[in-house]
């Protein structure tokens, strides 16, 4: 009798943690998606194609066939936990890799920048040489003998391409998620401190800053001496590249049309004196590069987080729900390209008339021909 009671009470006690786990799973974890997976774009160089997979690998494919050449695993973060709310153990790769000469540069969420041999996948150097920085969500940029990137620690780093030694660093007021852009001797990068910075590429000194009411995450676009960039305050800005003065701003929210607008997350594309600015509200705004007046707009019906790409005279845009569209830059007419029916957040890349898309669901890389509107090849990760 005593034994039976004991078993019953043990069972009852075991129920408590089980119930708690169920409650936590239902309340906190379902759909939270709190693992850092990454949304690396694709880098194309010669006959090779490089991208960061969502399980923390840098993968090289043959760009003509999509056959894998090599893959290397980047070290995972030491942090981890039982819950879905805990930081993930794998390393996320959010920045698009960059190819320069025989090296591929890839930044990772574990706070490290890797220089990897493009032919063999062998590691040339890693920065920092020991330990790691705060996470890196943006990609690297290259100019001359330096490679640049920003980190969650709010700093912009310039490293020597050959050795990986730090040349200079510049501290902003908050986290940096943006990928820098280099134009001539200027580097442009946005920060969570609501500022866009223009730095001297040689020594990292500040040339000018522009402050908005929201953070900057998207990669700036430099076109005809003007810097174009969108912010979290739902405004798209055109700034004079020389001194950072505001030329015009365009609001995504429209009270007349009861349109709330949203963050500008993806970077813009320029063609034929028009700026194509995608927004998380699901619209692509086509603006006059000089005046900022709206030429036209397209509703994609789903947020646009993936940066569009220019392929010839076509602007290829991907909505988050996997529907791809082609905007004819000459006529500003839109037509569907394909419906992948998979989540697309990674920036699109074009090379020699082929557009490459890396999906975040059923992780697949597609090579699409926008002219013929067909899938040339696809590579799905096992």
């Amino acid at each position: 009798m005593f034994r039976r009671n004991k078993i019953l009470s043990v069972k009852r006690l075991l129920l408590i943690p089980v119930l708690l786990l169920v409650v936590l799973a239902i309340s906190g974890c379902l759909g939270a998606g709190t693992r850092s997976l990454g949304w690396s774009g694709v880098a194309v160089s010669g006959g090779d194609l490089f991208f960061g997979s969502m399980d923390g690998k840098l993968i090289a494919l043959d760009s003509s066939s999509g056959n894998p050449r090599w893959q290397v695993s980047l070290e995972g973060s030491a942090e981890g936990g039982i819950g879905c709310a805990a930081p993930a153990a794998g390393v996320g790769i959010y920045g698009t890799p960059l190819v320069a000469g025989d090296l591929v540069f890839v930044s990772a969420y574990n706070g490290r920048l890797y220089a990897i041999n493009a032919d063999s996948g062998a590691l040339r150097w890693v920065y920092p040489h020991e330990g790691n920085l705060e996470p890196i969500a943006g990609g690297p940029a290259l100019a001359g003998d330096k490679v640049y990137f920003g980190s969650f620690d709010g700093k912009v780093y310039a490293l020597n391409v050959a050795t990986g030694e730090k040349e200079w660093q510049f501290e902003t007021g908050d986290e940096i998620w943006s990928t820098p852009v280099v134009d001539g001797d200027r580097l442009y990068i946005g920060s969570f401190d609501n500022k866009l910075y223009a730095l001297d590429t040689e020594d990292g000194s500040q040339v000018w800053t522009f402050e908005a009411d929201g953070a900057f995450v998207s990669m700036p676009l430099v076109y005809n001496g003007t810097v174009y960039v969108g912010s979290f305050d739902r405004y798209f800005y055109a700034l004079n590249a020389a001194d950072g003065s505001l030329l015009w701003s365009f609001p995504a929210s429209d009270e007349e049309q009861s349109r709330p607008g949203s963050w500008f997350w993806a970077s813009a594309v320029a063609y034929n004196n028009a700026i194509y600015a995608p927004c998380l509200d699901g619209w692509v705004y086509v603006l006059d590069a000089e005046s900022g007046l709206k030429i036209t707009e397209f509703d994609l019906g789903s947020p646009v987080a993936a940066s569009p790409v220019l392929a010839g005279s076509y602007i290829v845009v991907a909505a988050e729900d996997g529907r791809l569209h082609i905007i004819d830059g000459d006529s500003n007419e839109i037509r569907p390209l394909t419906d992948l029916a998979l989540k697309v957040v990674a920036p699109l890349v074009a090379s020699e008339g082929i557009v490459y898309v890396h999906t975040q669901e059923d992780e697949t890389v597609y090579a699409l021909d926008p002219e013929a509107r067909l899938v040339v090849w696809s590579f799905t990760l096992q």
Partner: protein, 322 residues
Amino acid sequence: MDIGAIWDLIALNPMINSMVWLSSILFGSFGLTIIALTLVVRGLMYPLTIKQLHATRAMQALQPKMAELKKKHAKDKQKLGQEQMKLYKESGVSPAGCLLPMLIQMPIWIALYMAIIRVLAVTPEDFLNLSQRLYDLPVLYSILPLENQFLWMDLSRPDFFLALLVGGTMWLQQKMVTPVATDPKQQAQGRMMLIMMPLMFTFFSITFPSGLALYWVASAIITIGIQYFVAGWGSLKPTIEGISRLFRREEKYTRRIAEAEKVPAEVAVEADIVPEDIEQEEVLPDARGGDKRQDRERGYPDRLRTARRRPRRGRGRRPKRR
């Protein structure tokens, strides 16, 4: 519209937007926002919490009678059920009284918990998804991302000290409402429950972002406060009394030490309290002045002899027991 979308529309999104808006008036600090929103939601839920606490107390008060009934009708389950229902009816207690307020509060707590996870946006993916939940208010778009640094903590990462605080406050909260069981079996179960819950939450807090742990601590402290105002310290009373006794004892010792140190001074003060006419009498030619030790009270006038306190040393001591 599926159930997830309905949930988002009526519970989760309002909670997320309230949180982000609140942070805009709390200097963008996510830590302050968590505490403030927990306080606000707790305040709104106060009538239900009170109802639940009263019902729980009433149920606890019935436990001895229930135990008696169980003993009496151990073999007749049907009769036991009838008698239990009768007891509930007679005492005006409804078992649903405990459950109903809790069930109504549960979705709100879950929404608050989920909102914290989403606004914390531990990964870039979470942060990107957050934009889809915001209402059309400029301040909501501009204030994000929120400041995750609060006191010494990065709220997006686990914090060991806060995890310990979660365990401690949860134990206190549990201890207050755990009834003192007379049955040893129930006692053991109660003890296990008392340790199990805080331990589990401490473990979760070590692995989850500390923003959640902050919510658990704030929530537990508020609950302790409410429980105290409704039912006092409950089962925590002996512990509290023990601690206060310990403090009192310490205070007593301190007072005694202080008194002991004061003694010579007091004696001096006593000696200084001399009636005005003493001086006159002391100068009388036949009076014996000077050595008070030899005087044995004879040096004082009669009226002062009665007023004089007994000497402290020597004679005041009790004889030793042998």
